[in-house]
């Protein structure tokens, strides 16, 4: 554990910094449903050459739950604000931002706002719009997202600690500094519900065009969350971006194919 005093931003997002202090910064951002543990198999590969930064989105892992302002986090812009604050707090420049799933779009918004902080964007399984709209195929309908919310409820209802407040219809505001650290991929159920709506109901297609940072779009085989056509769309919309379709299958190559993911990132940065 670091012994130096953490800044408020570092505490809020449970920011961890490892690797080579002199190296180029590389920032790993996790998606919906998990925490920075998602990068456990990938981040160590970069520790020799890079200053490795990982963090938890507010509501996940070791983040400060009392920092959850529903209004702020009702759009991905709120999460992008946090990313920019982390970059400023650590004074990172020429940063490589590796965003998985929804955090890929969070990185897009952040890089469009403050391109001077970013040296490269690595988007792993990005999707700017999950709902099919006017001929655009995102892969899902509104009912599917309702069905996901049902699935979230079905799973989180069983958590005895959260059962009572859920049934009572209001969960208490978490105390200052309260975090979830006792299990893998821990997420606060109430925040997870809101994050699910924000993730799956946002439409950030127009923001892709504003990216000026060199961008690598990494697409997996048989990824039902972000199908190939969506990866193609992201690639076409971000000027000058590179699209690589990996051999990895599913939505989480950071867990199922860390070596391949590392190689693709290194090849792009070389």
């Amino acid at each position: 554990m670091p012994t130096h005093q953490l800044t408020p931003v570092q505490q809020r997002n449970n920011v961890t910094v490892t690797g080579n202090p002199e190296g180029r910064p590389i920032v790993f951002a996790h998606g919906f449903g998990c925490s920075q543990e998602m990068w456990r198999a990938v981040a160590p590969f970069f520790e020799n050459d890079y200053r490795v930064v990982a963090f938890d989105q507010v509501g996940a892992g070791g983040s400060d739950l009392s920092a959850y302002d529903p209004g702020k986090y009702d759009s991905l812009h709120g999460y992008a604000d946090d990313v920019l604050e982390i970059l400023e707090d650590l004074d990172l420049n020429d940063a490589v931002f590796v965003g998985h799933s929804v955090s890929a779009m969070i990185g897009v918004l952040a890089a469009a706002r403050k391109p001077e902080r970013f040296g490269a964007l690595i988007l792993v399984g990005p999707s700017p719009r999950y709902i099919n709209t006017d001929g655009y195929v995102g892969g899902y309908e509104q009912e599917d997202i309702d069905s996901l919310l049902d699935a979230l409820d079905a799973n989180y209802l069983g958590w005895s600690a959260t059962m009572a407040p859920l049934i009572m219809g209001h969960s208490e505001t978490p105390a200052l500094g309260e975090t979830l650290t006792d299990s893998f991929c821990s997420v606060d159920p109430t925040i997870a519900r809101h994050f699910a709506r924000v993730t799956f109901l946002s439409d950030n297609r127009r923001d892709l065009r504003e990216v000026t940072t060199p961008t690598l779009v990494l697409q997996c085989q048989a990824d039902i969350i972000a199908p190939l056509a969506v990866g193609q769309f992201v690639h076409e919309q971000i000027p000058g971006s590179t699209l690589v379709v990996m051999n990895a299958r599913g939505h989480c190559p950071n867990l199922s194919a860390p070596d391949e993911l590392r190689d693709e990132i290194n090849a792009f940065l070389a």
Binding site: D146, L148, N155, G169
Partner: protein, 473 residues
């Protein structure tokens, strides 16, 4: 550990034990391709076990469960090596759903990774949970509404200024609608719209002359809902682009109306697209209506306070307000060592006008003179009617020379002809000036100052009227 041989002796048919276990059993590759499944699972899914091999496990799930599986089940299993009691719904070929609880482990057999899952039909538990959830959601939605309205009404009731009310409205609607920003804009007496509370990003980034959700709500005198930028652009060309430039995607605005006339507007801005259903629009409008009533009450109170401090005939400060201002001015003189002039003015010839032309003309003279005084003093000066035909003017930051200039202007405008007053009844002004400055005794009271200025005025009267006498205090 003799249990296995014992079990084997009693149940020689392992295959039967596997197929007809009281839970579904599935084995897949790390990519979730099914390599084996028992009959119980096949029955749950509604397909022969032989047909399941080669299909992927997520294919058997409802879409919502697929999303949960990919974003939660997979990470937990990968990171922890196992995942317990994950609730996933199977979708059978005929479209019916089977709620299940799944325990899964990631294991290595002969150097090959595989995933093994035990799948329990949880229809009973799920029905119970469904009921709980349905009840909870219904309770939550009506409870939220009631809670929002209750909290808002008590916050509104506590507000005693426009600012406090505006703050309460902005907080209430931002919380109720999980808005990125909420703001309250109020129309002032000049018809100018000013930001009274909250954050309004659009006002900061919008080009001048471009419309906004608030302006449209005021113009149309009704609620305006803009669920996304395209909708906003078709509502008013360029409005959606203006929203996006402020990193906003949706907005709802409703006017505050008092007897049908707008007094302000409440607006919520959202950083992502929103669908505004009937219930939420109604809640928004109810909050606006409630706060409109409170705003009208506060404005009425302000008017009453205003009235209580002003002379009804002339609209000038009354004696109470004059004394208040004088006390403040004296304190400032002592604290900041400033020069201040207090002018005491009495009209010459007023009694004659009152006696010969009647009180109505007398009142009109006081009104006409008051109006002229307003034009000759400077913006920050206070003019008050002290009583009868006596007026007091507090001129801050004014030395003797400047005070004389003002006094001479007053004498000059007082002599000009007055409507309704015959030439045979001339009016002029006798003025006494008390000058205060760094050398003023800090113990002096406002009464002392007024008495000294009054005495100076009497000197002007006794020395022939229409003149100025200065006394340094």
């Amino acid at each position: 550990m003799p249990s296995l041989p014992d079990l084997a002796a009693e149940h020689p048919d392992y295959e039967d034990l596997f197929h007809n276990a009281p839970c579904g059993y599935v084995v897949t590759s790390p990519e979730w391709v099914i390599s084996a499944a028992n009959s119980t699972f096949a029955t749950m899914v509604g397909a022969p076990a032989s047909e399941l091999a080669g299909r992927t496990f997520p294919d058997l799930l409802t879409t919502g469960s697929q999303l949960f599986h990919e974003t939660r089940h997979v990470p937990v299993l990968r990171l922890q090596g196992r995942a317990d009691e994950v609730a996933l719904s199977l979708e059978r070929a005929d479209g019916t759903l089977v709620p299940t609880l799944v325990n899964s482990v990631l294991t290595t057999v002969d150097g090959t990774d595989e995933i093994r899952m035990a799948v329990f039909d949880s229809t009973g538990r799920r029905d119970y949970e469904r009921d709980l959830l349905t009840a909870r959601r219904a309770a939550e939605s009506s409870e939220t509404r009631v809670r929002v309205l209750q909290q808002a009404s008590s916050a509104f009731a506590l507000a005693d200024t426009e600012e406090a009310l505006a703050d309460a409205i902005a907080t209430a609607v931002r919380d109720a609608f999980t808005a990125t920003h909420a703001s309250v804009l109020l129309l002032d007496a000049q018809g100018e719209l000013r930001l009274a509370a909250g954050v309004n990003q659009l006002r900061q980034t919008r080009e001048p002359g471009v419309s906004s959700p608030s302006l449209e709500a005021l113009r149309l005198k009704r609620t305006v809902t803009l669920p996304n930028p395209d909708h906003a652009n078709s509502f008013v060309p360029g409005l959606g682009d203006a929203l996006r430039a402020a990193r906003l995607e949706a907005a709802i605005a409703t006017p505050l109306l008092d007897k049908g006339e707008p007094t302000g507007v409440v607006v919520c801005h959202f950083g992502r697209q929103r669908n505004f259903d009937e219930g939420s629009v109604e809640l928004f409008e109810t909050l606006a209506r409630q706060s409109s009533h409170v705003l009208a009450r506060i404005r009425l109170q302000d008017q009453l306070t205003e009235l209580a401090l002003h002379d009804q005939l002339t609209g000038l400060a009354n004696r109470k307000l004059l004394e208040e201002r004088l006390n403040q001015t004296l304190a400032a003189v002592i604290r900041k060592q400033r020069a201040v002039a207090i002018l005491f003015l009495d009209l010459d010839g007023f009694k004659v006008v009152n006696d010969q032309c009647g009180h109505a003309v007398g009142d009109s003279v006081l009104q006409q003179v008051s109006e002229r005084l307003r034009h000759v003093v400077r913006a920050g000066d206070t003019i008050g009617r002290y009583g009868g035909d006596e007026f007091v003017i507090i001129c801050d930051d004014t030395d003797g020379d400047a005070a004389m200039v003002i006094a001479d202007r007053i004498r000059s405008v007082a002599r000009e002809p007055l409507t309704g007053v015959p030439d045979s009844c001339p009016i002029s002004a006798s003025i006494g000036i008390a000058l205060l400055g760094p050398s003023t005794n800090p113990a002096i009271s406002s009464d002392n100052v007024l008495q000294l200025a009054d005495a100076a005025m009497y000197t002007s009267k006794s020395e022939g009227k229409d003149r100025v006498t200065v006394v340094s205090v």
